[in-house]
């Protein structure tokens, strides 16, 4: 408590000084400084109000002798009055100063003075005497026409900006950079006032003809903040312009999304999809420059987390939303694929971007083989000078969960000899870093497991132990080794699809999930599989039911 009051006194001195310097915020420097401090000053006002509201007028003046000056100075700064709720909190603080029962004339005068200041704040700062006389003469009070006046001013400025954007070469009608900068500064406190939306939109969309950015960064930051907190609603074109013109805003939007994803429930792709769509980033990413930045941030996140499955899942959902958004774009305005994936061969990009939903089921195997061939070419081919780093190709492939997650399933569900191309693709997906020999070894291992599983799929009486033996588990030491992950994946698919699988499902999983991490992995797999089946419509009632049951059970265990 005591510490709080010391803090408040320090803050008080700080703000008193600031307000004195800012005065009426009529110069560029005072305006910029005020804009930078608007949020903190409002917080300070809130803290003051919390302190003042329990005190009576005399006590307040004993504690803060200059409080009337502080509040009066704040009232003269139009930026403060215009910002968010500052004017309201300021008024509350002033009300605290009123003496309920004035004992002497000084206190009465104080009351009168406060009444005057309140009236001043609300009197909607007047200007031309002629105009005031006219409106009064007609019988109107400012409250009658101020909203209309603001609307007219906003529309007039917005249309001027548009004209400047379209015809700016005519130097007579050009808006000077100083005026544009000033306008953007002035909008900073006003961003959450709905009447000003058309002006904000025009400032974002109409970028005139100067080679460098004129609008103040505080403006972009304030708009971005309002968009992320849903305090303003702007059309998509304006949001895209914002993110193109001010990179920090785009980065902040991504970070905001990451924070939301981290703090929400783990392993629920449906929720992830909601958050992603809500952020407007997929639609914005239809612009290649934005897509590149977003993709880069995903890549960093993936690298820093050592390929965490949750990040991979997020990338996959994002890409799916992005492809959907791309499909809705006007065909004539579409950018070439190369601009989104500059380091990929066009044929590979085209194949990967196909939605499995749009490809007939019979062709899925063929498509996967084709993808495998193209990827293998990109990874193993050193001579063509393309970016032969396997990680690049892997990162590309990882985007497209629709295909990537389908490989294991396809391998298990075909009774025929597993195609080498698919084996390769599976091995590559789970360990991109392997050398040729290592990968060949993995492929052999997988083929063996598949063989066993195929043999077991016909039998009606299975046991979980049998499964473990078939998988050759217990021989590897590191359960996290990619080969182990791969094998687990195959087993899980088997358990969900094979006729006898559901009887041993619970036991098999119990055997597999001996650490919390593996349990999370399995939960993630089940959630993703259900999500995928739902989208593609390939669920069989029995498998779906089983998967849901298992998921529910496992979720209660962690």
């Amino acid at each position: 408590m005591a510490q709080d009051s010391v803090d408040l006194s320090c803050d008080y001195q700080f703000w008193m000084q600031k307000l004195s310097v800012w005065d009426q915020a009529s110069t560029l420097e005072t305006q910029q400084d005020t804009c930078l401090h608007l949020t903190q000053f409002q917080e300070f006002l809130r803290k003051m109000y919390e302190t003042l509201k329990d005190m009576n007028s005399n006590t307040i003046f004993e504690r803060f002798p200059t409080i009337d000056q502080l509040l009066a100075k704040a009232c003269w700064n139009p930026f403060i009055l215009a910002y968010d709720e500052s004017q309201k909190i300021l008024i509350w603080c002033l009300c605290c100063l009123i003496n309920k029962e004035p004992q002497n004339s000084r206190q009465s005068k104080l009351n009168s003075w406060i009444q005057g200041i309140l009236s001043h704040i609300l009197s909607a700062l007047r200007f031309d005497k002629e105009v005031a006389l006219f409106t009064q003469g007609l019988g109107y009070a400012p409250v009658d026409y101020y909203p209309g006046l603001l609307k007219n001013m906003v529309l007039s400025l917005a249309s001027e900006l548009r004209e400047n954007h379209l015809h700016g070469f005519n130097t007579q009608r050009r808006m000077t950079p100083e005026r544009l900068a000033s306008l953007s500064r002035v909008c900073v406190p006003l961003i959450t006032l709905p009447d000003v939306d058309p002006l904000v939109e025009a400032l974002l969309v109409c970028h005139g003809h100067e080679p460098q950015e004129i609008l103040q960064p505080e403006f972009f930051e304030a708009v971005n903040e309002a968009i992320l907190l849903k305090k303003i609603s702007l059309p998509m074109s304006a949001v895209v312009c914002l993110w193109l013109r001010h990179l920090p805003s785009l980065e902040k939007a991504m970070l905001h999304l990451f924070e939301k994803l981290i703090s929400s429930e783990r392993n629920c792709l449906r929720r992830i999809e909601c958050f992603i769509k809500d952020s407007s980033l997929p639609q914005a990413a239809c612009h290649p420059a934005i897509f590149r930045v977003v993709d880069e941030m995903f890549r960093c996140a993936l690298l820093e987390s050592d390929g965490a499955p949750e990040i991979i899942a997020t990338i996959q959902v994002f890409t799916q939303c992005f492809v959907e958004a791309l499909g809705k774009e006007n065909k004539q305005l579409r950018f070439a694929l190369k601009t989104y994936f500059p380091y990929t061969s066009p044929s590979l990009a085209v194949v990967l971007l196909q939605d499995p939903q749009d490809v007939p089921r019979e062709h899925w195997l063929q498509t996967l083989k084709h993808i495998s061939e193209l990827l293998r070419e990109a990874v193993e081919d050193q001579t063509h000078g393309s970016r032969g780093d396997p990680l690049e190709s892997w990162f590309l492939f990882v985007h497209f969960g629709g295909w990537a997650e389908m490989v294991a399933e396809q391998l298990l569900r075909s009774a025929a000899e597993p195609p080498a191309a698919l084996l390769w693709l599976l091995a590559f997906y789970y360990s991109p870093h392997d050398g040729r020999q290592q990968r060949a070894q993995t492929m052999v291992q997988v083929k063996a497991v598949l063989g066993h599983l195929l043999a077991m799929s016909g039998s009606s009486s299975l046991s979980a132990r049998d499964l473990q033996t078939a998988a050759g588990q217990g021989t590897e030491t590191d359960p996290r080794a990619p080969a182990q992950q791969l094998v687990r994946r195959l087993l899980l698919h088997f358990v969900l699809w094979a006729p006898g699988g559901h009887t041993i499902a619970h036991d098999a999983i119990a055997l597999m999930a001996h650490t919390a991490e593996i349990t999370y992995e399995i939960i993630g797999f089940l959630d993703q599989t259900l999500y995928r089946w739902d989208r593609l419509g390939i669920e069989s009632p029995r498998s779906g039911k089983l998967a849901r049951e298992l998921l529910k059970e496992l979720r209660t265990q962690v």
């Binding site: 004017q87 003469g137 007609l138 019988g139 306008l183």
Partner: protein, 373 residues
Amino acid sequence: MESLLQYLDRFSELLVVSRTTHVRTWDPLTVRRALQWARYLRHIYRRFGRHGPIRTTLERRLHSQWRQEGGFGRGPVPGLANFQALGHGDVLLSLRLLENQALGDAARHYLVQQLFPGPGVPDADETLQESLARLARCGSAVHMLRFNGCRKNLNLQEDSLMKTQAELLLERLQEVGKAEAEGPARFLSSLWERLPQNNFLKVIAVALLQPPLSPRPQEESEPSIHKTPGEGSQALVHWLLGNSEVFAAFCRALPAGILTLVTSRHPALSPVYLGLLTDWGQRLHYDLQKGIWVETESQDVPWEELHNRFQSLCQAPPPLKDKVLTALETCKAQDGDFEVPGLSIWTDLLLALRSGAFRKRQVLGLSPGLSSV
């Protein structure tokens, strides 16, 4: 219904009193009652104010109040001045009381508590506190945009402040017209006598140039300024035609371009305008020594001014342009149909206009061809 009308009357009285020193006698109970009535009327307005018999009854009552206070010949109505004001009567009342320093301590304290109860107010719809905060925010916005962003040298009809005043004028005229058939004319005359005339003339011009919005925009809950099409402008035109010295002042004060636009939009004004221009022309005489047309008296309109007006009119679209040229030709004929300069001002004007047009066509790279002048 009768009790509703009584509320209306009482509230209107309250508004009048709220500006006087009589509030000294008000105690918290009075303030409370006043705010309650205001809130009640606001509620009525929002629910029933759009259409129907309730609106008509309320309006009629207001109109009869205004007529009792001397109609529109006198100054502004001291009480409830327009119908839309019922939608924010509580704000109006609160502001008037806050401005009134005669308010007693107890009443003031109560008022402030009511207006600004603090955070966590549970009301569902927009409370008085929110309305007032929004007004303060709006006011700052207007102030900042005006002094930091708005262009100074706009065309008159594009200036937001002018536009807003024009909208208010039109709205008021429409309302006054509903109250009394001859209302608008008397009202405008009283405004002419009371208000700064220069500003008033400009506002009239802008009002006459407002675009007609034919379908009424959907009614919002915000008591916005309704843009009504013809009625207000018709009243203005009618009044201008009936008051020749106002119209003369109008034509002198406003720039040529604006007047051309106005007369194009409102053809009824063009014969009078042309008549005025003709009168002005006839007051000039030719100074042989200087070789130019000069004013007879100092307040006469000079040649350049006259020429400007006619030039602007000749650039207007067809019906007006042709009328103007016909008028000039007629005047020229009446004067003796001279072709030589220095004898008839009409000849000289036509010559100047023709050469001006010719030069313009040259500059634009158009063929000399058949000039329509």
